[in-house]
Amino acid sequence: MYNTMRTMKYLFMVMAAMLLASPAFAQAAGEAVSPWTPIGAGLGMALAAGLCGLGQGRATASAAEALARNPGARPGIFTFLILGLAFIESLALFTFVIIFLYVK
């Protein structure tokens, strides 16, 4: 038990040391950008945001309905609602990150 704790301690110290060395992200520069890129980015983000809103709306609607039927189950529903919203939202955020990587 004590030994595992010590191994864990060293493991985390190494992890922390690795965490500190934040690498500089190399940026590709000077490439020609197509004139359609901003339109594509806008369309992509609009699609992602709209569909994400649709999904989150459905999730929230069902959560509200479940809460109205059974107000006692509030903590469980709340946790699942937050989780589901985070997962749905992260899909839109993937789009955002990809757009941000490609459109400079």
């Binding site: 992890m15 965490l19 060395a21 934040s22 690498p23 946790t79 985070a86 990150v97």
Partner: protein, 244 residues
């Protein structure tokens, strides 16, 4: 030279030479030798120092008869995380509480830093920081999975029937690696997009309206810290479960 926050410039004035030497020894190219320490790193150190001070203060002022304000705060945090841990992980959640608390508090503090004051910025708006959190969580839950299940932990990667093992093993490995990606990008993109959104609306309407988005950003910062902690707990519970 990149723009530096006040604290970063202080750190760089003090430690630029030794940090350059360490990075040189590790064969990492330094772009600006006068300023090897960036804002993100400084802010992370600041969050680390503040949390350490907070924990030391709580530990020193611990008392049964007269609990102070700090102790109440610490107890509330502990109770909240324990409750979540008990709901999600169930039996034996106690040994993970400390990790979950530190993870949650660190991310919360890091997220809120950029909102608190113009002399600070959120370290989580740089992709390297959430990646660090995600990697530590990844190693941590796999360690506990192996500790609890032993060699049988590999069964979680293999699926229900033996003739599908060859197909499911790569899929499971990829899905576990995708957890790192999704944890990282979720936190990073939320914080980054929040800052950007406030800035964009500030450039459109410089009065009043950006305040709304600052409020939204505050909510997002708290929720994302909670979600990261919750997901770490869920991954832990999946890794240490026996019924596979």
């Amino acid at each position: 030279m990149p723009t530096q926050l006040y604290l970063t410039s202080v750190l760089n004035r003090l430690f630029a030479a030794p940090v350059d030497r360490v990075l040189g020894a590790l064969h990492i190219a330094v772009k600006y030798p006068q300023a090897p320490i960036n804002n993100t790193f400084t802010m992370e150190l600041l969050a680390f120092a503040l949390l350490l001070l907070y924990f030391i203060a709580v530990r020193v002022s611990l008392s049964v008869e007269k609990p102070g304000a700090l102790q109440h705060l610490a107890e509330m945090t502990h109770e909240f995380v324990s409750e979540q841990g008990e709901q999600i992980i169930g039996h034996g959640y106690e040994r993970f509480t400390s990790y979950l608390i530190v993870l949650g508090l660190f991310i919360l503090l890091a997220n809120l830093m950029g909102l608190f004051s113009p002399w600070l910025e959120s370290p989580t708006a740089n992709v390297a920081v959430p990646l660090g959190f995600a990697l530590v969580t990844f190693v941590y839950y796999h360690y506990h999975g192996v500790r609890v299940n032993g060699f049988g932990y590999i069964k979680q990667f293999l699926g229900p029937v033996w003739w599908l093992y060859w197909l499911l093993f790569p899929i499971e490995v990829i899905s576990h690696l995708a957890r790192i990606l999704s944890l990282t990008v979720r936190l990073y993109a939320n914080m980054f997009a929040g800052d950007l959104l406030t800035l964009a609306f500030f450039s459109l309407v410089p009065v009043g309206v950006p305040l709304l988005f600052l409020g939204l950003h505050l909510g997002v910062a708290v929720v994302q810290a909670y979600v990261f902690m919750l997901l770490a707990a869920i991954y832990l519970s999946l890794a240490v479960s026996h019924d596979h």
